[in-house]
């Protein structure tokens, strides 16, 4: 059985793997930068995580904060 008989199928499988790995890598990197940008933007507007540093009126009910905080 010659490799040349099925080279198209082999190449297509490796191209599919490259596309899939590339897409997954791009997805995690773009998502990371999007979240970092969003956090920086919120930080610039004075919205921060710690209730001590957040605007006093911005503190939500404690139960909700615990639930959302990961």
């Amino acid at each position: 059985m010659e490799a040349t008989n099925h080279v198209g199928f082999i190449a297509a499988a490796y191209i599919a793997a490259i596309v899939m790995i590339g897409a997954l890598s791009a997805w995690v990197m773009l998502d990371y930068h999007a979240q970092r940008r969003a956090l920086t933007d919120l930080d610039k507007r004075g919205v921060t995580r710690r209730s001590g540093t957040a605007r006093p009126e911005a503190t939500p009910p404690a139960k909700q904060t615990a639930k959302e905080e990961a």
Binding site: A3, H6, D31, L39, E69
Partner: protein, 242 residues
């Protein structure tokens, strides 16, 4: 750092930030070595050169199943301990597992056409793998449907535990039914039936895929933690504005 410390999302973020660059580097190196070994591996006496597709197909099948296994353990963490990092793990693993399962189906079809004469057959192994892919799509949809992450996590956890039934069906489908797909040839009583000249590159590629999975999972978990922080801050901002 104790393993339990990583259960704290802030410490986990620090761990992920330090680990991801190193893990990415090791993944690239192992992939380069694995592909090199796969390319110089001899042709199979029956499959010919199409055996090279197996170096992608088999690891992606393992990873597709491993990801659901990780989600199943995470689901127990969500339902029993209600730990937010378990939710994060399950949510982050789902798209990665779906991608590996899809790659398994695509590469399997591309191998099946020259070897079996068809891209697809409703064989028990192929069908149960397709069911796994559909389960991934369903659990991703479930995460997106419910707005509150903790409520979505509980629903997704129950769904994941029920879906885990498909894992032994995939594994034993070739023993329980007459299938066109070949039987177990690696993890079987009596040892592998594959020659070491093909088995060793296969294991190297499996290691490379597993490292890739670990890297992507860590990165996706980091993103999910950051996303939840953004959501919390936006809620704070909204409550401050009202």
């Amino acid at each position: 750092m104790a393993l339990l410390d990583l259960a704290n999302p802030s410490r986990f973020l620090g761990f992920a930030n330090r680990t991801i660059p190193w893990l990415s580097g090791v993944t690239v190196l192992v992939f380069a070595f694995g592909i090199d070994q796969a390319m110089i591996a001899p042709d199979d006496y029956q499959q010919g050169a199409t055996v090279k597709i197996m170096f992608l197909h088999v690891p992606s099948a393992w990873l597709g199943m491993l990801a659901w296994g990780v989600m199943t353990i995470a689901a127990l963490g969500t339902l029993v301990w209600r730990h937010p990092l378990a939710d994060v793990t399950a949510k982050a693993a789902a798209p990665i597992g779906a991608a590996f399962t899809l790659l398994c189906l695509v590469t399997g079809s591309l191998w099946g056409r020259p070897m079996w004469g068809t891209y697809w057959v409703w064989d028990a192994r192929l069908t149960s793998m397709l069911v796994l892919f559909l389960l991934y799509l369903a659990v991703i949809a479930l995460w997106r449907t419910v707005d509150d992450p903790s409520r979505a996590a509980r629903a997704a956890a129950i769904f994941t535990l029920v879906g885990a039934i498909d894992l032994p069906i995939i594994k034993f489908s070739v023993d329980w039914w007459n299938t066109l797909h070949q039987g177990s040839s690696i993890f079987r009583v009596g040892g592998p039936t594959i020659d070491p000249s093909i088995l060793i590159p296969l294991f190297i590629m499996a290691a490379a895929f597993t490292l890739l999975f670990a890297t992507l999972l860590l990165a996706a978990m980091r993103n999910e933690i950051l996303r939840r922080r953004v959501r919390t801050l936006r809620l704070l901002q909204a409550s401050a504005a009202s």
